[in-house]
Amino acid sequence: MATLYLIFIIFLGGAILTYYAGKLGSVLQDIIFLATILGATSLFYAGVHINDFMSFNPGGITLTWGINYFGWLFSLIVLGLGSLAAVYSVGYMKGKKRRGYFYFNFILSIMAMLGILVSQDLISFFIFWEIMTWSSYLMVIYNGKDDQKLGLKYFIFSAIGAYAMLMAIVMVHSVTNTFLIGNMIEAYPQMSLSWQIWIPILFLTAFGVKAAMMPLHVWAPGAYSSSPMAYTSVFSGALSKMGIYGMVIILVTMISHLPQGIWFRETLAWLGGLTAALGTLWAIKQDDAKKLLAYSSIAQLGYIITGVAIGTELGLLAGLFLAVMHALFKGTLFMVVGAIEKQTGTTNFTEVTGLIRKMPWTFFSALLAIIALAGIPPLGGFVGKWMLYEALITSNHYLLVILIFFASTAAFLYCYKFLFGFFMGQEEKEWEHVKEAPATMVVPMVLMALFMAVLGSWPGIILNPINNGLVDLGFVSTYKHLWDTSILFNSWGNQVVLKPLLYSVVAIFVFFAIVLIWKGFKGTRYVSTKDISSSGEVPGENENLTFSLGFAQPFLRAVGPVMKRQIDRYYTEFADGLESFFEFLRRIYTGNGQTYAIYVFVFVVIVLLFKDVLF
């Protein structure tokens, strides 16, 4: 069981080595970096046994490490996505500055996430949580200067969450003189009601910050878009899932014992639904791909929160499956944006267009990821969406399902905007030089895209670990009752048999593709995008006809009233109010001796005047 120690030693040593190996040469640095991540990953899956805990007590505090099935499920996200993103970032960071800094923080955050998963006591949980926050914060300010205070915003919200969690830990410890999570869960039902309500609220605040839940999400767009893309794929794909991880534990193990738990669940579910809807609307508005994906991450996390919050078995399955899917497709999409940024130097839809014939593999992975994001069959996203809808309908959340449906239908707009803005449209002279991204960047994207396609028809691959994890959390097995390897059931007994549907989709597509290519694809001549029927005009070389500004304007006009104010503003006004209040206080304490003398004198006079009354 010393493997866990070994893994963390590998991580730390690898991080420090990588940081200093930059002086010896970039290739060596890449090799050490990859060796650290991949070695630790393989060691974890080879050497670590599940449900095999080890405890040690430095300074009288019992700490326990070890991983259960539930953590193992999330370790799939963290380590799988982490290693792919590591391979990607080797290509991404080629020829960039501050590589040592990047690699160091990358390894540290992967280690911290793994630590969160393996730590069975609150102390190490909190320590790893803080390491994660710090390393991601350093990544957000990777560019050195932190204009518009994006990193600061992220850090303030993380700090709020951390303090909430610390308070909760202290409260728990004051009741049960131990830090073990298991003991906390056992002791929870005996606590007094107010504590039973306050401890989950504090924990959920901490986790909600990381999961970018509705009122606490304002840091996310800036932080996601300002950190390097190779890390953002992990940031949005895996790091936000830590919040979901904690949330699920709290919801399942604590709140389900609480008679008032239904309020927690409903509030969380509705918050998730609002997050989904508003995040989608704001994503449609964006013109920068990073911002668009950041808002869409918020929206997707909203789906996940809703799924885990309604708390039925199907809902938890849906939420956790969507979490895995979100890690896959959002990681892929951020990688795509990174590749485009590396090749063209910009990520603005209004600047770069028509890359489909220049970067075909990037387009392929982006297409599959977008189909999965939109939840269109036969890709994996549909499975999660289907289970989410069925869970909501069968658990009588009728208006919530309408809200979720609205969000996921409006998501088509930004899905199409993403694909169209980058890959479609007029091909311009400006981007003629663009080539396909290097193999180290393309291979991870394509691998993840293909895995999504596989999950579309064989979701059992992921549903099996989820089932084990839920059993660990004390659910009865959802196997055979809600899903088979490629069949999904809802609790009313209706089913979706995925494999024949997939086969027929493929068959029909191939048939009509052949019908279209009857005379041969070569028989028809390729004409450039300048050769379009624009009422007889021939567009000039530098005349760009691509429709990219004000993309979904009619829709935004229709939903305009909803998007009048951002939650961001409320926080800003709150901060301004505090500032003016402190300004007022500063007026009283001028720091001038005479003023204080006057204060003392006035006080004495008042006392003398009213001494009869007072004494």
Binding site: R525, S528, D531, S533, S535, G536, E537, V538
Partner: protein, 181 residues
């Protein structure tokens, strides 16, 4: 396409029959003739009963209907539109202006004879031709299509150099994609 193999003959017959009964018109309303198209299409002289309907873009159209005079500037666009259309495609010259300049016979800026620059299948004379005349012209075109004699596009392909020479004579700076299908 119009070869003598008997098997081909039947296919050609069916194809020509469908083509003559479904004519999608791209009306290039250059001159005053554009005003004659709405009555032709709408309730009074309902041309849709003959399968004649408007097309939105050159890619979908069968017939290029040139209504009235063509200045040098519009001739450029008309040639572009014609070359964007897909085979089989036909051209109808509409009004005296396209035949011999009409009332613009001495104008310094309009072409006088359309079939020097584009292969015209059917001319409709008159200034302006009434909708009856327009429909009559369409019926003539249908007849030619049915007999497989509306081969303007083929003729255009074969003597492309001659047409290009005429077009470049009045359009000196020639900026257009080449026409090779």
């Amino acid at each position: 396409m119009y070869n003598d193999k008997n098997s081909q003959k039947i296919v050609d017959y069916i194809q020509n029959w469908t083509r003559k009964h479904s004519i999608w018109v791209l009306a290039y309303g250059t001159g005053c003739g554009a005003i004659e198209i709405p009555p032709t299409m709408t309730s009074r002289y309902d041309s849709e009963r003959l399968g004649i309907r408007g097309a939105a873009t050159p890619r979908q159209a069968d017939v290029l209907l040139i209504t009235g005079y063509l200045t040098v500037k519009t001739l450029k666009r008309v040639i572009r539109v014609y070359e964007q259309m897909q085979d089989p495609k036909y051209v109808i010259g509409f009004g005296s202006c396209t035949i011999n300049g009409g009332m613009y016979f001495d104008s310094y800026n309009t072409i006088k004879v359309l079939d020097k620059y584009l292969p015209v299948d059917v001319y409709i004379n008159g200034c302006m031709p009434r909708p009856e005349a327009v429909i009559d012209g369409f019926v003539k075109l249908q007849k030619r299509i049915g007999e497989g004699r509306a081969t303007g596009a083929k003729h255009y392909k074969e003597n492309l150099e001659w047409y290009r020479a005429n077009q470049k004579k009045i359009i000196p700076n020639w900026v257009m994609p080449e026409y090779n299908w």
